[in-house]
Amino acid sequence: MILAFLISLFLQTAAIQPASVMPGSDRASETPDQVGGDDIDVAEIIFEHIGDEYEWHITEWKGKPIAIPLPCIVIDDGVHVFTAHHAEENGYTFNENGKLINAATGKRPIDISITKNVLSIMMSSLLLLIVILFTARWYKKHDVMQEAPTGLAAAVEPLVMMVHDIAKENIGPDYRRFSTYLCMAFLWILLNNFLGIIPFFPGGANLTGNIAITLVLALFTFFTVNLHGTKHYYKEIFNPDVPVFLKPIMPVIEVFSAFMKPVSLTIRLFANMLAGHIMILSMVCVIFIMAKYGPLLGGGMTVVSVLFGVFLDALECLVAFIQAYVFTMLSSIYIGLARAHED
């Protein structure tokens, strides 16, 4: 796998010098600021897929992009709402990262646009809400003492109970208060990890591979941990039982460690999911790059690429679950530590 990845990397760099004029990919011509018309800018394609957009680009049909226009909302000298196509008319333009800036001052306004990722958050959260509420409705309408769960409830129950059991194991007697948050975090991450693997609408948004999203999730864990910390937990941080010469150092280390926990949660989930997306996208890009080198090499590499793509997709399914599980597990352990009592 590593070998194939190195090959694809080599080919990506090689592709910068145009060898021959080929039809190229549909992706190559879709962005207006594309440099060489027929060349493939792998980095561009990948960053477009893992990044955020002011519209949800779905596909290209007869040279015209098919996209869902999304409202840009900026707060500058008042609230402005417009679509990305009409940014200029409203006095805004885009910077080199594709973000909205005030055309006059060149500064970033407060930008709370409903971007592709925001829409994706909304849709996946709504989906999660519906799924869980329907499951809850099943439990309200049926007598669990008499019948086993069916349909949706049968699918959701094992996941919810798995997290519930993680909470029970790691937190202690008052785990019920926290199992709800852990269930929410786990199912939300799991759902979005899987939606991220789906390459087309309504999936395909790289949510859990976005640092803002994982940061918010980690901050939820951070506040859950530190707002519910026991006296014992805070004593361990600020006045631990250590030799006197360590007394001034320990609080610094402990506070630092308390803040590093959410950071590590953020980076772990973000980096894992992002790396998975980049690997799969690279595999797909190899197909388009190799198309330039004639049918033999192109066809051969396509087979290899598809095989590795399938392998990586399968791996991503595994990683999607593992990362959701790890996030939940670590959160529950941190909460458990904060709920520790004097023994």
Binding site: D111, V144, H164, M184, A212
Partner: protein, 169 residues
């Protein structure tokens, strides 16, 4: 790189949406499910415990039953043995009693026969004596009708008496 700088808009929306969904699900979603499933788990656990208990009790009962059966069997054989013994004893008793009774009856019969015999003999003797006296009277009357006969008889009597006074040689 804008990859590692969190976007404010995204942070904002994520907090808002995640917060709302979390609130709703924390109120109407997860607790319903977990409570119900916990309730069910508790019931299953209790049922299993009950089943174990019942099984244990059944096993105890079975042992008890076997013991009772064994005891009953022993008692039965004991009773049978005693009955046989009693029967044998009764039969033996009856036999000895019957023998004793028979012996007694025999003895009594013997006694009575003896007595009857005695009385019969006495009657016969009396009769014989009477006959003898009557015969003797008749003979005597015959013999004593004359003086000489009377004298001769008297002498004879005196002789005999004197002879009988002497001790037997």
């Amino acid at each position: 790189m804008n990859l590692v700088t969190p976007e404010f808009g995204l942070l904002f929306w994520m907090v808002v949406i995640f917060g709302i969904v979390f609130f709703l699900l924390a109120k109407f979603g997860f607790p319903v499910i977990t409570d119900m499933v916990d309730k069910r788990s508790a019931k299953i656990e209790k049922s299993l415990k009950d089943a174990d208990e019942i099984e244990a009790r059944m096993a105890a009962w079975k042992v008890e039953q076997a013991q009772m059966l064994e005891k009953a069997r022993r008692e039965q054989s004991e009773i049978l043995r005693q009955a046989t013994e009693t029967k044998a004893k009764i039969v033996a008793d009856a036999r000895t009693q019957a023998r004793e009774e028979a012996d007694k009856i025999l003895a009594e019969a013997k006694l009575q026969i003896e007595a009857e015999k005695e009385s019969a003999l006495r009657d016969v003797r009396k009769e014989v004596a009477l006959l003898a006296v009557q015969v003797a009277e008749k003979v005597l009357r015959q013999e004593l009708s004359d003086e000489g006969g009377q004298r001769a008889f008297l002498d004879k009597l005196v002789d005999e008496a004197s002879e009988s006074d002497r001790p037997h040689s």
